[in-house]
């Protein structure tokens, strides 16, 4: 239960805004930290905290790309393949990522450890190819540095 496990965090979030509804997005972040994704249960809990219908919370989950509606791997690797990154080799790089992981972008490895996404611009075009690994930036990636990172994660 979010309310029991993250009570202090919930209070902090609610205190930031004059309306409960504004707390929906940060509460969904807490829920995702707690459950790994925005499960139906998580959506119901957030809705109850914000005095909203679960359907309204679900619409927020569906609209924003960073809320996961299904389970993802322990580590999520988001690789940008937008125009500025593609000019610096991102398309070839992400093809390498797919080969190394043995999955397609959008999928999770069979052991549940790594999810690979191709994503839109992450505002680090000067350091392409670039990825976010559970939100942390990894810059100037090469097939070699990617393989090293993945080998480490797969241990």
């Amino acid at each position: 239960m979010l309310r029991t496990n993250r009570a202090a965090d919930i209070e902090k979030v609610l205190a930031k805004y004059p309306t409960k509804r504004s707390a929906v997005m940060p509460l969904l972040n807490l829920a995702q930290e707690e459950y790994g994704y925005c499960s139906p249960e998580a959506i119901r809990e957030v809705a109850a905290i914000c005095d909203l219908d679960p359907t309204e919370v679900k619409s927020v989950v569906g609209f924003y790309t960073m809320y996961y509606e299904e389970k993802v791997g322990t580590t999520v690797i988001d690789v940008c393949d937008d125009l500025p990154c593609a000019l610096r080799g991102a398309d070839g790089f992400i093809a390498h990522c797919e080969r190394k992981l043995g999955i397609k972008a959008g999928e999770t490895t069979a052991n549940g450890k790594i999810t690979l996404h191709s994503v839109m611009c992450v505002a680090a075009c000067n350091r392409a190819p670039v990825a976010q690994v559970n939100g942390a930036y990894r810059y100037d990636l090469t097939p070699e540095t990617f393989d090293q990172m993945v080998d480490e994660l797969q241990k």
Partner: protein
């Protein structure tokens, strides 16, 4: 040619660790804030910003002081909302400020709040900025702990809170009214204007929304005066601006320059020129949403008026340089893909138009395009232009309109010389059907 001798914004290049409060304060940090709170009226701060000629740095270039002056005096509460949703492909300047010079962002935000008589500000960062956001949150905590934010500041009775709010992945939240919707806990779809945020903004109260970079200029203006700030830039485009340079250049990165002094070619030279040994063919000056500029126009000066003069925009100053190996059909498809993904779905012309446009470009890339498809792209364009609520629809068309205007031969060659359908293009197209986050369409 190196641009600024002493940076006003990218100060971490001159002063190591300026993100630390002690270092920031040892280098004039919060001097403007203290000066304003203890010795100036809000109207005086506002007047200084108005006189400085500072224009919005998020893209639209609206005069900041004028925007602030629209806030009614007798309606409470009022809010300041800082737009740090930076999501335009090619733009990474706010990222740098939030990460490397967070106190200056905070100080600028505080000065804006003081100027309009607001006691609460939100800094809206895109969800992907959780890492740089940590620097900003630490800086905020340090500012509170040192009595720079909070209640009864410097014994004057004035109180100010600044809080950080994270988005969760949506380009459209960079549009100010969509950003407000998002901050209120809703899906990020733009509001009908008027009424404008100045009277009916966050929680339907008077609200100033400014870009991160815009506000980061304000401490200098308040500390040294509008005339001092105007030593940089031109009469109509005053001050300094950050230029995010990416693509086929040797030294991609952020460059801080006075407006109107340098040309596009100068910027390219500062970034080391072409990284591939091939000539640069064109540049997108404000990311995917801007009219592409062929190299023949690189003599244009970097200010709002000169860029308009060559049929483009200064916008957010995200210069994506492309060498002559870049096929404009491929480049335009990348951009259309972005806008199709980011269309919020509110307006049919944008939602459906970007969908059909992408289908046409996919057809070209897969090698099945015909010359008739070029005309059809123009037709789809016409159905979007001028028919949408917010600028996103318009932005989506510019990649089509202007690659067709300047590089139509690329389209014809692509079809006639059967350039589509290569294994690389096929792989790219296949990836787009599964690669992005499951709930790709907003």
């Amino acid at each position: 040619m190196t641009g600024m001798e002493k940076h006003l914004l990218l100060r971490d290049l001159d002063v190591p660790n300026i993100r630390e409060l002690a270092v920031y304060m040892a280098n004039d940090g919060y001097a403007a804030w203290k000066k304003a709170v203890t010795s100036m009226k809000g109207e005086e701060v506002l007047a200084a910003v108005k006189d400085s000629g500072l224009r919005g740095r998020g893209g639209a270039g609206f005069p900041a002081g004028l925007k602030w002056s629209f806030i009614p005096k007798d309606v409470f509460p009022k809010y300041v909302v800082v737009n740090g949703d930076e999501s335009e492909p090619g733009t990474f300047k706010d990222h740098a400020l939030v990460r490397n010079n967070p106190h200056q962002v905070i100080e600028g935000t505080a000065l804006c709040a003081y100027a309009i008589g607001s006691n609460l500000a939100y800094i809206y960062l895109r969800g992907e900025f959780s890492e740089p956001g940590k620097e900003l949150e630490k800086a905020l905590a340090d500012a509170y702990a040192n009595g720079l934010l909070g209640t009864n500041l410097m014994g004057t009775g004035y109180s100010l809170d600044i809080r950080v709010h994270y988005g969760a992945g949506a380009y459209i939240c960079g549009e100010e009214s969509a950003l407000l919707e998002s901050l209120e806990g809703r899906i990020g779809q733009p509001r009908l204007k008027p009424p404008f945020p100045a009277t009916n903004g966050l929680y339907n109260k008077p609200t100033v929304i400014n870009n991160v970079e815009t506000l980061a200029n304000v401490p200098w203006i308040v500390l040294n005066g509008a005339a001092w700030y105007r030593q940089f830039g031109t009469e109509k485009s005053s001050g300094v601006k950050l230029f995010s340079v990416s693509g086929h250049v040797k030294n991609p990165g952020n460059y801080e320059l006075p407006l109107g002094k340098y040309s596009i070619q100068d910027l390219l030279d500062m970034a080391g020129g072409s990284s591939t040994g091939r000539p640069i063919r064109a540049v997108l000056p404000a990311g995917s949403s801007s009219p592409i500029i062929p190299a023949v126009n690189f003599g244009a000066k970097l200010d709002y008026e000169s860029m308009a003069g060559i049929g483009s925009v200064l916008g957010s100053c995200s210069f994506i340089f492309m060498d002559d190996s870049v096929d404009m059909v491929w480049a335009a498809r990348k951009m259309i893909r972005f806008f199709k993904h980011e269309s919020c779905g509110k307006c049919t012309p944008c939602r459906e138009g970007t969908y059909w446009a992408l289908k046409l470009y996919n057809k070209l890339l897969s090698g099945e395009g015909t010359l008739a498809d070029i005309d059809m792209i123009g037709e789809v364009n016409k159905q979007i232009i001028g028919k949408c609520f917010c600028p996103l629809g318009e932005f989506a068309t510019s990649s089509m309109t202007f690659t067709l205007k300047h590089f139509k031969q690329d389209y014809i060659d692509f079809i006639e010389k059967k350039k589509g359908g290569t294994p690389e293009y096929k792989a790219e197209l296949a990836r787009d059907t599964h690669g992005h986050h499951a709930q790709a369409a907003h």
